[in-house]
Amino acid sequence: MIEVEHLSKVFNGRKAVDDVSFYVGKGEVLGFLGPNGAGKTTTMRILTCYMPSTEGTARIAGYDVFEESLEVRKRIGYLPENPPIYPEMTVDSYLNFVAKIKGTPAGQRMAQVDKVVEECSLGDVRRRIVGRLSKGYKQRVGLAQALLKDPEVLILDEPTIGLDPKQIHEVRTLIKGLASTRTVILSTHILPEVSMTCNRVVIINKGKVVAMDTPEGLAAQMKGAERIALIVDGPSEAIREKIHAIEGVISIQATDEKEGRPTSFAVECQLDTDLRPVLASTIVSQGWGLLEMRGVSMSLEDVFINLTTQEPTEADSSRR
């Protein structure tokens, strides 16, 4: 349904999107995950025909976003990063206006508006001025607008940003419900969002795709390591050296280090070797104080941080 091939976008000589390729099948929900500035919004703007790509192609429902922009625009619902609302309008008149410019025939407009109002639970605020609504309601008005005219493809840029936990839950449920009949691509920088709503995840960092898999697959991919959290009272440099020398330890990092206070470390070890006894005896035998030791299993969160904080060169080589 959505085919993106070698997409690049250059702003003033800087690549905001760099050779991005992915595919979204009909009925799939694709999570587009990345830290701020990764190029999510830019990619979505290219997909929605708002701006052209510098290189590469993107097709939606078989139509090229650049060559056949009108056909694409007829088929998409787009929620931009900032909900595109006219603050002086009421929710009803705003949705009516959007229905009109999307080409909904006059006879069906009322029913269409009623439907999205229902779907986005906007019933209570229909006659209110959009500009005076809370951020959460504005976001839902933006979402309602995207749903008008029942588009085949939904492109949602950070749909849950600015919502409170209850609303986030509602919007996620809503998106899940929509997914059965539509193709959805949603961007987010929040991790749990993708594991809850998406079939597939594309992780993007500094304009490049660094990983693409199911949420479970991604978590499994990184299960090559176990992590142990330590708090040790002693000279941190010496501790680091000593522990790094232990067999089975992949890396050790200080996570919280202050002069004259016990240091927290995160130790990454190879799978299926419980290093805790060795670690404990090493630390104690050096005369340092072992204040805490905890096994931490890696979550999707860690996968994300791992993938997006690696040096670009490493990300490059792991992709090739």
């Binding site: 595109p84 002086e88 410019i101």
Partner: protein, 256 residues
């Protein structure tokens, strides 16, 4: 067509929910009334002087003089008002991000421009109508020649139409309404005052200056002369403005 109408309607409504429409209408009505009475006063004094010194051989066309002076003043007032009507047309959509909605729905660039331009023309018509109301008292006590009035208002509409097109184009270039207002005012003012260089220029330069001046084309209309070359001037200018606006929107979708 549905798109153009929808955008026109939204734009008109947005004029009237913001204070701009009311401020503009109030100021315009006040200035029209003020100048109407001040010109009326001047003409009355002139007539009395004439009567005193016994030079009453040539009757003065009181309504005609008042109307012409008022229309000339109105053309200056429009220089200030038009930028306020066009500043938001696109700049505000850019600022609010609603342009992202507009350009990713099936609305075409032409339709977006047409809807907005028509809305600003509608407001211009409303302004001209309030001006007509101001001069209605002239018909109370006389039979003024209505033909020059009609041609005068036609000229005024064409003149406003041109300024609005320029303002609309400038509004596509920025997301800052203050910048849009100042730039539109600057360009309009330049086209307005360029006439003053006409006297000192010669040859081709003079004819270019005379042709560019928005004011010189208005004078014949106010005198009651409808000359197609002036109509062509205004229509061409407006068309250029709208075309540039169209290209400016298109350029957002160009590959660099």
């Amino acid at each position: 067509m549905q798109n153009i109408l929808a955008i026109w309607q939204r734009e008109i409504k947005s004029y009237f929910v913001s204070p701009i429409a009311y401020v503009v209408l109030t100021v315009f009505l006040f200035l029209s009334g003020f100048f109407f009475f001040s010109y009326l006063n001047q003409v009355i004094q002139a007539t009395m002087m004439q009567a005193q010194f016994g030079q009453g051989s040539q009757p003065i066309d009181v309504p005609g003089i008042i109307f012409k002076s008022l229309l000339q003043t109105t053309s200056v007032v429009l220089l200030f008002i038009v930028p306020m009507l066009t500043m938001g047309l696109f700049a505000e959509e850019k600022k609010r991000g609603t342009i992202e909605l507009l350009l990713t729905t099936p609305v075409g660039h032409f339709q977006a421009i047409a809807g907005k331009y028509l809305a600003s023309l509608t407001f211009l018509l409303i302004l001209i109508l309030t001006n007509v109301i101001t001069i209605l008292p002239l018909f109370l006590h006389g039979q003024p020649d209505w033909q020059p009035m009609l041609s005068g208002y036609l000229g005024m509409f064409l003149y406003g139409m041109t300024l609005l097109a320029i303002g609309l184009f400038i509004s596509t270039l920025t997301e800052n309404q203050i910048v849009a207002v100042m730039a539109t005012f600057g360009v309009s003012l330049a086209l307005f005052v360029i006439e003053s260089f006409s006297a000192s220029a010669t040859g081709v330069a003079k004819s270019v200056i005379d042709y560019l001046s928005v004011m010189s084309h208005l004078e014949d209309f106010i005198k009651g002369v409808i000359d197609t070359s002036h109509i062509i001037y205004y229509v061409t200018f407006a068309f250029v403005g709208l075309f540039l606006a169209y290209r400016s929107l298109e350029s957002m979708r160009w590959k660099n």
